[in-house]
Amino acid sequence: MSAFLHMGGYAVFVWSAYGLAALTLIGLTVATVVSLKRASAELADLEALAPARRRRRRPAAPAAEEE
């Protein structure tokens, strides 16, 4: 086990590289998930306010309004 952690004397380098990879990738994932949850919550709030009108308007949306 200690040989594993020791990495032939290069522990600092190997572990900081792997640590950085973990930090970056996990950090990005967490940030994405948190933002997504927040946005979904906000969207749910907005939809609760005026649901029926939205759903009826969207399929009938004429080209003039979209463009």
């Binding site: 990495m7 290069y10 380098f13 590289a17 950085l20 990879a21 994932t29 969207r58």
Partner: protein
């Protein structure tokens, strides 16, 4: 996009149907659990083989293990940029509404992978060459790729109008994609001119199959993670656009 109605479009087929955000949500919801499981599986096996069950390099000893987090990062950086280029192409040629969403989603992921490739490359360089940064051809190319990502993100944010931002970013991504091979070639050229004869390419140990296994496993792990993050960020981007549209509609209705 009056075309992208809720009814399925028989002529457009799969891709056109996918343009409907609700459809995309459903499809991504079904894909995500498999992708997440695959990601975790590949990471666990990749880390096991990379850190424990693989040999050390004759010259680089244990530091060669850094290769298993560095090289896949560089590969995914390239894959991310390719995603931007393909998305840009689709935006300009087929005007598929999800293409721009994919581009916006992929850019920060690509930038993160590129940063990781650079940082782990630097960490790898210190014990191997005794210096934190080495102007070797691959690292230099990755550095330039990082700037290309920054430029892409910057030009997206430079325009308030979404259409303009999407098209400008699309053109930039394609221009960058055409230039990337030229840049890589010129950097290789530059590197061979200035390289002292004794220095070999950073991180190219003889690829023993026992080293290839963790490398490919980690690459698969990174790729699955990219897919997961891409889908999540596309959903995020779509949610943000819906929120914006609804807020505008509400403001308009309030004024009426």
């Amino acid at each position: 996009m009056a075309d992208a109605s809720l009814a399925p479009n028989p002529s457009g087929g799969f891709w056109h149907g996918l343009a409907n955000p609700a459809r995309f949500q459903r499809l991504s919801s079904r894909l995500l659990p498999f992708l997440v499981i695959a990601t975790i599986g590949f990471f666990l096996s990749g880390l096991y083989f990379g850190l424990i069950a693989s040999p050390i390099d004759y010259q680089q000893k244990d530091t060669v293990r850094i290769m298993y987090v560095h090289v896949p990062a560089a590969w995914l950086a390239m894959a991310s940029y390719s995603t931007l280029a393909v998305a840009g192409f689709v935006v300009l040629v087929w005007r598929h509404p999800l293409a721009d969403v994919a581009g916006a989603a992929a850019a920060p992921i690509g930038a993160a992978f590129t940063f990781l490739a650079l940082a782990t490359g630097a960490i790898w360089g210190q014990p191997t060459w005794g210096t934190w940064w080495v102007w070797d051809a691959r690292l230099t190319s990755v550095l330039i790729l990082f700037f290309l990502f920054l430029g892409y993100i910057a030009i997206r944010n430079a325009f308030d109008e979404r259409e303009r931002a999407a098209k400008a970013a699309a053109i930039l991504a394609l221009v960058g994609a055409v230039n990337l091979p030229i840049i890589k070639f010129s950097v290789e050229w530059w590197n061979t001119l200035h390289q002292p004869a004794s220095v070999t390419r950073l991180g190219a140990p003889a690829m023993h199959p026992d080293m290839l296994r963790p490398l490919l496993l980690m690459a698969a792990a990174y790729l699955c993670l990219f897919a997961v993050l891409l889908l999540l960020r596309m959903r995020l981007e779509l949610a943000r656009r819906r929120i914006e549209a609804m807020q505008i509609a509400r403001a308009g209705a309030a004024e009426a």
